[in-house]
Amino acid sequence: MTAKPDDLAPDEQDLPHEVLAGFDAIRERHRTDPPLEQLRAARAGVLPAGAQQAVSAHLAGDPWSQALVDATSDGSDVDEVTEARLLARIKRELKDQPAPGAPWWRTMIGPAAAAVLVAAVWLTPESRQPATPPAAAIDRVTAPATPEPITPPVAPLPFSAPALRLGLRALAWRGAPNDNEYVAALKPAFDAYRKGDHVRARDAFDRLAERYPDGLEVLFYGGVTRMALGDDKGARESLRAAARIDDATFNDEVSRWLVVAEQRASRPVTAPPR
């Protein structure tokens, strides 16, 4: 993306006509180049697959874009104000978390924490691995663990299926861990979801919705499952209901999927050719 500067000082404009015309030609030539942030993101390998391939191919074939990324690769430093603000923010978010190095049993702050541990065991079986950096959400969906027949997705999902986790209400359970009926009830649906068995997952989420119509996890993951089965209107309704629950830890993810569901559900249905 290029633009003609509109604030050139007189000495900056004092150039031969052919030079000024040359800049016009360069701007036109690179007018549709990917913006600098995408070029740098592609160099770092963090764009979604399709964009990564396209922008990387452009970068490989365009010396101007390469020079631009090379010349701006250092980035800007953090200033003292930002550094202090970030530290204050991190300390605020750490206030309710246990101190590093504390024995594992100190994390058992009441039954709610126990419910988290119980759920965490079957939500993230790899939770006891050494300290590897948290993976991107797109990398956390596990492959099916058994050879049971499953129904593949009918409609391609716009991004990888979201990793399974619990919302604030499920985590705030104050009874005994084994009495968290809702979390226990989620397990069959979550198992099917994790294996990619969308039909079984949908059926399980439908049954759960009768008992827990306001269950965020039922609505959100049920909506994603419906989208994978091509039921865009069903997905839209489910995700709209999930958005109304307004769980701060889920809102971003729900919004992202709801945008796709809204667009897919509003597309006109084309009749099959005769």
């Binding site: 290029t2 003609k4 500067p5 509109d6 000495d11 004092d14 150039l15 031969p16 052919e18 030079v19 040359g22 800049f23 030609a25 360069i26 549709t32 180049d33 990917p34 600098l36 942030e37 740098r40 993101a41 770092a44 764009l47 979604p48 399709g50 964009a51 391939q53 396209a54 922008v55 452009h58 101007w64 020079a67 631009l68 010349a71 250092d74 980035g75 800007s76 430093d77 953090v78 930002t82 550094e83 603000r85 970030l86 530290l87 923010r89 991190i90 750490l94 590093p100 050494p130 300290a131 950096p133 948290p134 991107a136 797109i138 990398d139 716009p158 991004f159 971003d252 992202r256 945008v259």
Partner: protein, 165 residues
């Protein structure tokens, strides 16, 4: 090692990397905060020798998630693909001079590219390159001097033009 000491030692590198990946300071702050929160959670299992690499990996993974969200619709991804592969006219001589001149250091090249082709103000270029506005002004003046020399424009020519001769 104490968490705050690790923070102070590595925050600059982590933040700079986050800005490099997203070019948005507010997003970079989010990614940086998330990286250090992740560090705090794993602090008893982290070898300080793994830093800042471990933190940068967290930032990279979070940036990947952010980009996936930013390019939220497949349509947008397709637009990026179409734009990136669109055929373009041949490079004009000035572009070749900017890219190949041995007299231009990378910082001069960056200032000229960002100013004249990508339309950034001096302040924006300063933020992009981690310089002051005065430094950007100086680099631009140097680059333009070289450019005028390359195109055979002498000081006398410029003075004559200024005087309307």
């Amino acid at each position: 090692m104490e968490f705050e000491a690790l923070y102070r030692e590595h925050v600059a590198a982590v933040f700079r990397f986050a800005v490099h990946l997203t070019r948005k300071h507010e997003i970079a702050e989010d990614l940086t905060a998330e990286a250090f929160l992740a560090l705090h959670r794993e602090l008893d299992r982290i070898d300080p020798a793994q830093l800042p690499g471990w933190l940068l990996t967290v930032v990279r993974n979070r940036a990947r998630d952010w980009w996936r969200h930013a390019l939220v619709e497949q349509r947008h991804v397709e637009h990026v693909q179409a734009q990136a592969t669109r055929p373009r006219p041949a490079a004009p001589p000035l572009e070749q001079w900017i890219l190949e001149s041995g007299d231009l250091k990378p910082v001069h090249r960056a200032c000229v590219m960002l100013r004249y082709v990508h339309g950034l103000s001096r302040d924006e270029i300063a933020r992009e390159l981690g310089l002051t506005s005065n430094q950007v002004k100086g680099h631009l003046q140097y680059a333009l001097t070289l450019l005028r020399k390359a195109y055979g424009v002498s000081v006398n020519d410029r003075e004559a033009r200024r005087l309307g001769a």
